[in-house]
């Protein structure tokens, strides 16, 4: 029968999983991501889970979601509206069905539509039967029944069997999306089979059977009239791995340590959504990465500053409220002029706000949230995979300029995942040239002056404790521009303040120019930064395809701005900045370029959808 189902060539498919938080939506999502990626598709995903540890099961508040977009071309967002929704219970149906594309498919576990479950979410009747879901292509599958049947002869409690419904679903999807089943079988084997860390033979067997049952179900029932067939994406050749932004940052920290020859050091305190970074990095002890989980955020950054002073490559990781606590100590790194990378995974604010939701509202805090005039470079990661590069670049600039650097990511890219082309250590830029500790033997006849500077980078001459014969004292009071001794001299303070600013400003000259997507001039320029990159890129691509006079720019370094930005901006009639905040980059752009930037603000704990950007641009184009 399978052969009867039409195999439709698709360019991209948007799939969403929804179910109870405890039900492993993220897991199944990641499995499909891997499956698609292994098959050569590009993938972008967006998890969405409640802020409670365990919101009551079966309730709307307890629904976890995981949306993803698979494509035969570069995919920049998790897509707007799902083509396929896999909703494991009535709550998930109620929660997510309204987002599905008209006519889209809803796959659900009809066994979970018990009267009690329906009642819990306020369904009067059964939506699978009473027309509630009219207009959708509903596939109601009795998953528990089918799985229990497939595992009938296995000695397992029913609850354990029911848990295999996820692999059953994978089977259905594998068939539906025309994927290679061997990949999933390998995966089960790796995870539970003999080679696994904790082999669980029975689980492996059960999941294998459930998976195959799913495959067969797709093939042999007449439920599916259509299959999707995605071609492979034109992505760069190489070794790939699916990775979250937080994991990518963690790896970059280890890698930057390795490539600089310095011991990498993280001083931190757990905070959602930055904790995963610390979790993963804590596993790298064998690579000599020191992680100190401190008593609070202030101690986190202070140990990192201490480690930097002692010559380690120092990092501190946090999210908004934690960054707020680190401000005074960030100023310490700034005035001591030691390298320090602050990775801030933004979340919904203000205050505790929406810890599990994404937002980009720490930009102005990163810019200005310190006493005194205190500028620092800010780099923003644009995707989960890009967190590696952004963190690595942050470390490089911190070392080269002896400055704290802020790396901004956000809950969406920090916790979301996408395929990442794994670099080899050989390919990564060598960071040792930027370390150049001052040692007397390299400067015969010279006296060490802690605040003597490289004329180009303005990085100060840096000697670390343990270096023979150049013991010296520095501190957080204003310092003499050469000796670093405490100075209350008025003109010295003016010079030092200007120098600290110049150091960051000058960085602009050596940063890569902003690249433009589209024509170099036109009606509307859309500027993205950080996590808005994907939606803006997708939207601008589509608008260009439609022949609209629209271009896009992404800001990687948010401060300082790339040198050509002003020029590019001046060539467009209108400038649009979509941001997951109340217009923070807009403030910086307006102040710098005196241009009437329009801000598209969204603070709903959710990234932009392409259509939101497209609609706004069309409005600006007067269409």
């Amino acid at each position: 029968m399978a052969e009867n189902a039409k195999l439709t060539k698709s360019e991209q498919i948007v799939v969403k999983f929804a179910g109870d938080s405890g039900d492993g939506m993220q897991l199944i999502g990641n499995q499909l991501t891997a499956l698609a990626a292994l098959d050569g598709n590009d993938v972008n995903s967006l998890p969405d889970y409640p802020s409670e540890i365990r919101a009551p099961s079966g309730t709307i508040a307890g629904v976890s979601g995981f949306q993803m977009c698979l494509g035969d071309h570069k995919i920049y967002t998790a897509g707007d509206h799902p083509d396929v929704l896999v909703a494991f219970n009535p709550a998930a149906v109620k929660h997510s069905s309204k987002d599905v594309k008209p006519g889209g498919m809803i796959i659900t576990n009809s066994d979970s539509f018990t009267e009690k479950a329906l009642e819990k979410v306020g369904y009067e009747g059964n939506p699978l039967e009473d027309g509630t879901l009219k207009g959708y292509d509903v596939k109601a599958i009795p998953m528990f029944t089918l799985v229990r049947e497939a595992l009938a002869d296995m000695d397992m409690p029913n609850a354990a069997k029911d848990r295999c419904k996820n692999f059953f679903t994978m089977g259905v999807l594998c068939w539906l999306f025309n994927k290679e089943q061997q990949l999933v079988l390998d995966f089960i084997d790796e995870k539970f089979g003999a080679k696994a860390k904790k082999p669980l033979a029975q689980v492996a067997e059960a999941n294998t059977r459930a998976f195959k049952a799913g495959l067969n179900y797709g093939e042999t029932t007449i439920m599916f009239q259509e299959r999707f067939d995605l071609g492979a994406a034109q992505i760069e050749k190489g070794l790939y791995r699916n990775i979250t932004g937080n994991d990518a940052s963690a790896l970059a920290i280890a890698a930057a340590g390795y490539k600089s020859g310095l011991q990498p050091f993280i001083g931190s305190y757990p905070i959602t959504p930055a904790t995963d970074l610390l979790h993963y990095a804590s596993e790298f002890k064998d690579l000599g990465l020191v992680t100190m989980q401190m008593e609070d955020e202030i101690a986190g950054i202070c140990t990192a500053v201490g480690a930097a002073c002692a010559g380690n490559l120092a990092f501190t990781t946090t999210s908004g409220p934690g960054l707020a606590l680190k401000t005074e100590a960030a100023g310490m790194a700034l005035i001591l002029e030691v390298p320090l990378v602050i990775v801030n995974v933004q979340r919904g604010g203000p205050c505790t706000g929406l810890p599990t939701k994404t937002e980009q509202s720490d930009l102005l805090q990163a810019m200005f949230g310190r006493n005194g005039d205190s500028y620092m470079p800010i780099i923003a990661a644009l995707s989960p995979a890009d967190c590696f590069d952004a963190t690595y670049q942050g470390a490089k600039i911190a070392l080269k300029y002896r400055t704290p650097v802020i790396v901004l990511t956000d809950g969406y890219i920090g916790q979301g995942s996408c395929p990442w082309k794994v670099p080899t250590m050989d390919e990564l830029e060598d960071l040792t040239p930027y370390v150049n500790f001052w040692k007397p033997e390299d400067h015969p006849g010279e006296t060490y002056q802690p605040y003597k500077r490289d004329p180009e980078t303005l990085a100060r001459d840096w000697a670390i404790p343990g270096t023979k014969g150049v013991q010296h004292r520095i501190g957080t009071l204003e310092k003499d521009a050469l000796t670093g001794a405490v100075s209350h001299d008025p003109m010295n303070h003016q010079i030092m303040t200007e120098t600290r600013k110049a150091k960051v400003d000058n960085l602009a000259a050596v940063l890569p120019e902003a690249e433009i997507n589209g024509a170099e001039s036109g009606k509307v320029l859309v500027i993205s930064w950080g996590g808005t990159f994907g939606a803006v890129k997708g939207a601008v691509d589509r608008l260009i395809e439609e022949g609209k006079s629209v271009s896009g720019i992404n800001l990687r370094w948010v401060w300082p701005f790339p040198p050509n930005l002003g020029d590019l901006i001046s060539r467009f009639d209108k400038i649009l900045v979509p941001e997951l905040n109340m217009g923070q980059l807009s403030v910086l752009l307006r102040a710098k370029f005196l241009v009437d930037v329009q801000s598209l603000s969204k603070v709903q704990g959710d990234p932009f959808r392409e259509y939101e950007v497209i609609d706004k641009v069309n409005e600006m184009l007067g269409e």
């Binding site: 791995r241 699916n242 201490g306 013991q471």
Partner: protein
Amino acid sequence: MADTQLNKKDFASDAEVKWCPGCGDFAIMNAVRSGMVAAGKPRDEVAIVSGIGCSSRFPYYMETYGFHTIHGRAAAVASGVKVANPKLDVWVVSGDGDSTAIGGNHFIHAIRRNINLNYVMINNKIYGLTKGQYSPTSEMGQYSKTSPYGVIDYPMIPLVAAMGVGATFIARGLDSIMKLSTEICERGAKHHGFSMMEIYANCVIYNDGAHKALSSKEEGPNNRIIVRHGEKMIFGTEDQFCLVQDGFGIKKATVADVAEGDILVHDEKDADMATVLAGMRPDADLPLALGIIYADDSKKTYDDMVYEQIDCVKSKLGRTMDQLLQEGHTWNV
């Protein structure tokens, strides 16, 4: 200069010392220099970290590496320095306010972790640098700029607090008893673990005479006891007083009145006794304990454990960076 020949003067930087004439910090600086000599490290392998306060100006006056950081955070910064570079001899010098007020949290956690730092808390029971506000160690009723009608906070006893979070070394000195401060700094420098050295200092400007009851020639010896491991706890201008056990506590007695065997003998390895000793206060008719009250080298330090764990994981897993980057589920395009 050969490392072995260092003496106290070698640890003096050429910066002009800017404390008020008569400030107790001068004497303590001297004692710390002795401690550094005792530690035996060359000056370029010594780092001093301080917070903010008069006392925290300390690093500038020492010919070592020095970091004058921010208020209250010296313990955290120093923890980073020590863990990042364990071969350094790392000292912290911090005031009572710096350590127990804004820095209280880092202070107790550094002690709890037993990080191998030499921590000198200069306790003048006042905020000197900001010109005379009471601190957590100020006495109940003390007048100061922010307590014009008297302090209503109970004072913290830093050494008792330190014992409360698992200190492995506590000692208390007094600026005016130079020999003792030196002894403390020398022992503290050598203690493997967090060495908590509280030294009372006189702030001549904002809290002059705060320790007079302890330091005065006439009454001082009656109000303090210098404890020494293995020695009987006897004190007083004429050695007329002694300490005896009283339940789980200690009480003062007259030597003449007690059997010799009942006089307590100091055991610097007895944590329970140390807690009680550290808490003795003249206002409860007990002498203030000076000297090395507790010293136990048997607990591993945090910094040692960091590298032990790293070595252990290295030998178990020992991945290369490339292996790490490529771990998990990978595929080739």
